[in-house]
């Protein structure tokens, strides 16, 4: 989709209305479309001149076609635009695209001269008020710049069935005069026009429809007229002598005609078409027309006032063309201009995608935050790429990191550990695979610092999970399980001195009794660290019980020193005779100042290493009586 345009529709030319394969054909888009009203009038066009209406030959391409907007009404959405298609097929439908809704467009994006291929020497839409003069627009749209000058009572009128407005000729000599131009003095040529005669008949002279001649008496150049005597079309030219040819068609006031004349000088052949039908084929001489530097006239008046008046009626879309137009082209033009609504169809709106914040949840400082920006709504061509902009929309956020939360541009996952509380405003900027961009304002709020979980309440059997899955029995007296004392994982054991030499309840034990065998060596260890001048020692040991659950003894190993960083101490304890159960114990003694942290209490069977090099296994046959 063209970059920056938010809406599009496909326009499909019905190939059955195209009479031949054509190149560089300017198709007419003519209709009233509510969505082409400006936003202020309930539509989607942003520019009051319709400049943000553009045409491309592909939805995926940002390369524009050439077009001319003959008329655009921002209130009604009525438009007449001519769009040059590089090729139009008579066998398959031709599709091109109309984009609109781009707020940043304020200049015309098309190319008026480029709309008309080089064979066109003059294209006059004859509509619109020219520069506020009250006269119809007589500007030539081609590159030749053969603009005309209106004269007389020539006015624009609304014409039903023809393109936008046309010119109303009074029949009293008003018309359009184009300054002499070499581009209009050619031999093989075609011309076409829409005409609704209103006052023909009753005159002896022809009423000129067009001329490249100084006067109706034809001493040079040519003229095309309607005879006042028989209402037939006359074509005169001068090739050293005056030539006159008359059509078989008789014009009638009030009837709409699409007239085309082609003259093939080389072949000496004149053809006259009405609408999409060939009316006359006339053999002429092959001598070239003799031109002088006369002006060119559309509808009159002729120079010098000869001709009494001029064509009386409505004329629209006069074109002068170098070369001989074929019936296929003429028929296609007729179909297109006479009935645009059947010549092409317009698709439903292709709504481009819209970036979506997806309601990012609030976060908490230091707590992992993640949010996946959803797939943009409304379409677009995947894959989408996500980026962040500052809220003023002026610059990209470096590395797409806001408050330590990083956006993955491919997945749209935004995650990290928020660094600071606050409300953060930003713009989510999403591109689709065709580089179409959509933005949306987003914000998140990061709350204050982490609330540590409440530690278990010390005393009377509370406490955390003990080794082997049991529960530590924690008495009152300075013990707690805290996050601050975690060596790894989440919590560790904390003991804070009470300031006395003798600390009551200075030991904790696990209720997880381990089955042991007398003689085993238990290799036991834990990690400690002290702070605040922690003194004393920490012990790890076991209480042993016999098979009747009678207490036998307890043994400890004790740390030495007061490390301020995590330090492991280990020792071996031998299971005494008679013991079948051992309960792990941790205790602190002579602890007068500071705080101990204790974590990762383990016991394993005695370590070492072994090597087996042979086994001699003794066995015997078994008999049940033995």
């Amino acid at each position: 989709m063209a970059n920056g345009w938010l809406r599009a529709r496909a326009i499909t030319v019905d190939h059955t209305k195209v009479a031949a394969d054509l190149t560089n054909y300017a198709v007419l888009v003519n209709g009233t479309y509510s969505y082409l009203k400006t936003v202020a009038n309930g539509g989607h066009v942003r520019n009051t001149d319709g400049f943000d209406i553009i045409f491309t030959d592909s939805y995926n391409s940002s390369a524009k076609l050439d077009w001319e907007i003959e008329n655009y009404n921002p209130v009604t959405g009525n438009i007449q635009a001519w769009v040059r298609l590089p090729a139009v097929s008579s066998s398959v439908d031709t599709i091109f695209f109309m984009f609109y809704d781009n707020v940043s467009i304020s200049t015309f994006q098309g190319d008026v001269p480029g709309t008309w291929n080089s064979s066109f020497k003059g294209v006059y839409h004859l509509s619109g008020d020219q520069l506020g003069t009250g006269y119809a627009n007589t500007t030539d749209s081609t590159v030749n710049d053969n603009d005309g000058t209106p004269s007389g009572l020539l006015n624009e009128v609304s014409v039903v069935g023809i393109v936008d407005g046309g010119c109303l000729y009074s029949g009293a000599g008003d018309g359009i005069q184009v300054a002499a131009s070499a581009s209009l003095r050619i031999q093989d040529f075609s011309m076409s026009l829409w005409a609704i005669p209103q006052s023909i008949g009753g005159f002896g002279f022809g009423l000129p429809l067009a001329a490249e001649s100084a006067n109706a008496g034809i001493t040079s150049g040519w003229n095309l007229s309607v005879s006042g005597a028989d209402n037939k079309i006359k074509f005169r030219y001068f090739d050293g002598s005056a030539q006159l040819f008359s059509s078989t068609i008789t014009l009638t006031n009030g009837v709409t005609y699409f007239l085309t004349l082609t003259w093939n000088q080389t072949a000496g052949e004149l053809k006259i078409y009405n609408n999409n039908a060939l009316i006359d084929t006339v053999t002429t001489g092959t001598t070239p027309i003799t031109y002088s530097s006369d002006d060119f006239y559309i509808g009159g008046p002729l120079e010098g006032g000869i001709g009494i008046g001029g064509y009386g009626g409505i004329m629209d879309e006069f074109r002068f063309f170098s070369g001989v137009q074929a019936l296929g082209w003429i028929t296609t033009e007729y179909n297109n201009e006479f009935s645009p609504s059947t010549f092409y169809s317009v698709s439903d709106e292709i709504v481009p995608f819209q970036a979506d914040c997806g309601n990012p949840p609030d976060g908490t400082q230091g707590v992992f935050y993640t949010h996946t920006f959803p797939t943009p709504t409304g379409g677009g061509v995947p894959p989408f790429f996500f980026a962040l902009l500052t809220r003023d929309d002026t610059s990209y956020v470096p590395e797409d990191v806001i408050n330590n939360i990083t956006l993955n541009g491919i997945t749209g996952v935004w995650s990290g550990y928020p660094a600071a509380p606050g409300t953060y405003l930003f713009v989510l900027d999403v591109f689709d695979a065709l580089s179409v961009e959509s933005k949306v304002d987003c914000e998140i709020t990061i709350g204050g610092s982490i609330d540590p979980p409440n530690p278990p309440t010390p005393g009377g059997g509370g406490g955390g999970t003990g080794p082997g899955g049991g529960t530590w029995i924690i008495p009152n007296g300075g013990w707690s399980i805290t996050e601050a004392c975690a060596r790894q994982g989440h919590f560790g054991l904390q003991h804070t001195a009470d300031g006395s030499d003798a600390i009551a309840n200075n030991k904790i034990s696990s209720n997880n009794g381990l089955t042991v065998v007398a003689g085993w060596t238990l290799y036991t260890y834990l990690f400690i660290k002290g702070s605040g001048g922690a003194d004393g020692t920490v012990g790890i040991g076991f209480q042993f019980y016999d098979v009747n659950n009678i207490f036998l003894s307890e043994s400890y190993i004790f740390s030495s020193g007061s490390p301020t960083t995590w330090t492991q101490f280990t020792g071996n304890i031998t299971v005494p005779a008679g013991a079948v159960t051992a309960y792990p114990i941790v205790q602190v003694i002579e602890h007068r100042t500071g705080t101990w942290c204790i974590d990762d209490v383990y016991s394993v069977r005695s370590g070492g290493q072994f090597l087996i090099s042979s086994i001699k296994h003794y066995f015997d046959d078994y008999t049940s009586y033995r």
Binding site: W472, G489, D600, S603, R605, S606, I612
Partner: protein, 645 residues
Amino acid sequence: MVDPTYKNELQAQFSGAWLLLDSTDVPRPHGLLSENMEFIPGAAHTRLGFSEAVDTNEAITSMFNWISSLGNLLVYYRSSDNAVRLVDIEAVTPTASTVIPGNLIGYAASYADAGARLYLAFFNVNALGASAARVISFQSGGFVSDPCFQPPIVYSPGPPSEPTTGTITQGLHYLGYRIEYRSGFLTRPSPDSGIGIPSVSTFLPEPFTATGGANAAWTLNTTWPDGAVAVHVIMTPVANQADWRFVPGAFAPVVGGTLMSVTITFDISDDLLFANGTDASPSLFFLTNTVSNAPQILPSIVCTHGDRMCYVTVVSDNVGNNSGAVYISNKNAYQEISADQSIVQLPGLRNITTCISLDAVLYIFGPQWTYRTTDNGSDPVTWAAPQLVDGRRGTLAPRGACVSPSGTYGWVASQDGLYYFPGVYQDLPISYYQQPDWDRINWNAEEAVDIKDNPTVKKVYVIACLDGAESPSHLLTWDYTNGYGSNQVQYSLDSLQSYELGCMEVVKNGLQNMPVGVPQKRELWLAPANESAILRNNSNEDTDPYVDHGFPIFANYETGLFPREGSRGEVYQHHGADYRVKGDGTLRIIAYSLDHAQNYECAIVTLSLQPGLIPHRSFDLISEGVSHLFTQGENILPDGGFETP
């Protein structure tokens, strides 16, 4: 005195456990259980322990021993904040420093050694690329990192002046400039529009109408992007505005991150430009980050393939369907890739998890398939379509395939086993007889699976999460001293007590103060999954080699059944055994009847290193067969944390 009428059977060879078979079918010397054991001819013994190598005290999910002209370095991915850090192993006091700050996304990194540069990609727990690929290099006295595929910039300098006479061909030229980054990447041309993904259409070259008979001086005054080291001028001749050429000699050094004006003067006719100016047109099609450095691909794996760099990633089609892809760089230009010319995909656009380069062949692995392709010297898109090597076997793990240090064979951790991979799959994985253990691997945690081969000790290691664990729990070790066949390797399931495995790497030990025989030896190093030290595998030369970071090794070995297999079907009365053992500590021996229906705990043996012992232990079991379990260092308190109830 043993009754001389008893029969006896002697076993003097010991081999790893065969877990697949029913115990009655396991031929001795293979065992029924081997954990934390090693095997030498004639004996089974406790494996060597691990001791502290570097006390990084960090959780690590991947590490790489980067040996280059820059030294012997250990690079690792710190999982706590997703940073990449680096240690000089040979420093007197190895100290870690951060090379890539913790703004990455992903579970771990993969690494590709490119001499004095190290390429990194990052994968997440779904084995997909997570962050932009990076390059680490050494600049101005320190290690730095940069994103791969750094972008052009939008700065438009305006046309050059023509200060003096010269030979620039009269007429309309176009100018552009290409920024060279310290990562070694000479990016696509600038100025860029900065809108969307840099492409041919976003390149906004500077028109320059030369008057003829003059030279040109082009001033570029901007804040150069981070990592920029030079700027090169490119130009089109008058006759062909699509033919971009480097202007020979027209470049200038710049300082990244600094506002700096450089004026580059050049003087060259179109004839000479065409003759001597290196073609720069292909750079218009380079795939780079956006101007804001947003990546266009997120590789999960990087690996070198000959003189190219491979980036394993995922691409999406226009309707959002993903497929696996490998972007393969231009030769000797590891970051020069284009979206359409550098891509290799598997037939049917099948998924890709990783790739390895072996004997000049690139092997591409998907979850259940393996393909191969070879470099034809041209753009990768022109290479022959990857050929199927195996349609059943591949790997789910980003690190599930590796190349041995010899480069002549590899290893593949397929879901059905560990394969020795010399370019084809063997009929049976080497793990065939350990299938029950292999099937314990939690393939939902495929991101943790890693393979390392240490030819020095002829062992291959697989680190994995077993039994539903979601972080690495075990080290599966195969000793291939006797060959690569499933019936030749010796297996042990290893683990460490009180040490959470994070990842592993085979490292050239350059640490100071190592025992004689250890320095520069290749060793298996382990990194922790929590805040602990990096450990190195001990050697016999270490003072106390049979300790894991201060903790006992929980070693278990259970023999096959006595008497030998040929005697099955008979019931015997088993009286005892003489054990030739040595070591230290105490040894627990348990005699088990068939299928552990009964057991007899023997009196504990107090070991002696020298001389060894032949203690006799009596037991009385009636069974078709009896196995002997030796165990030491048993963990009886497996968890010592203090957590909330």
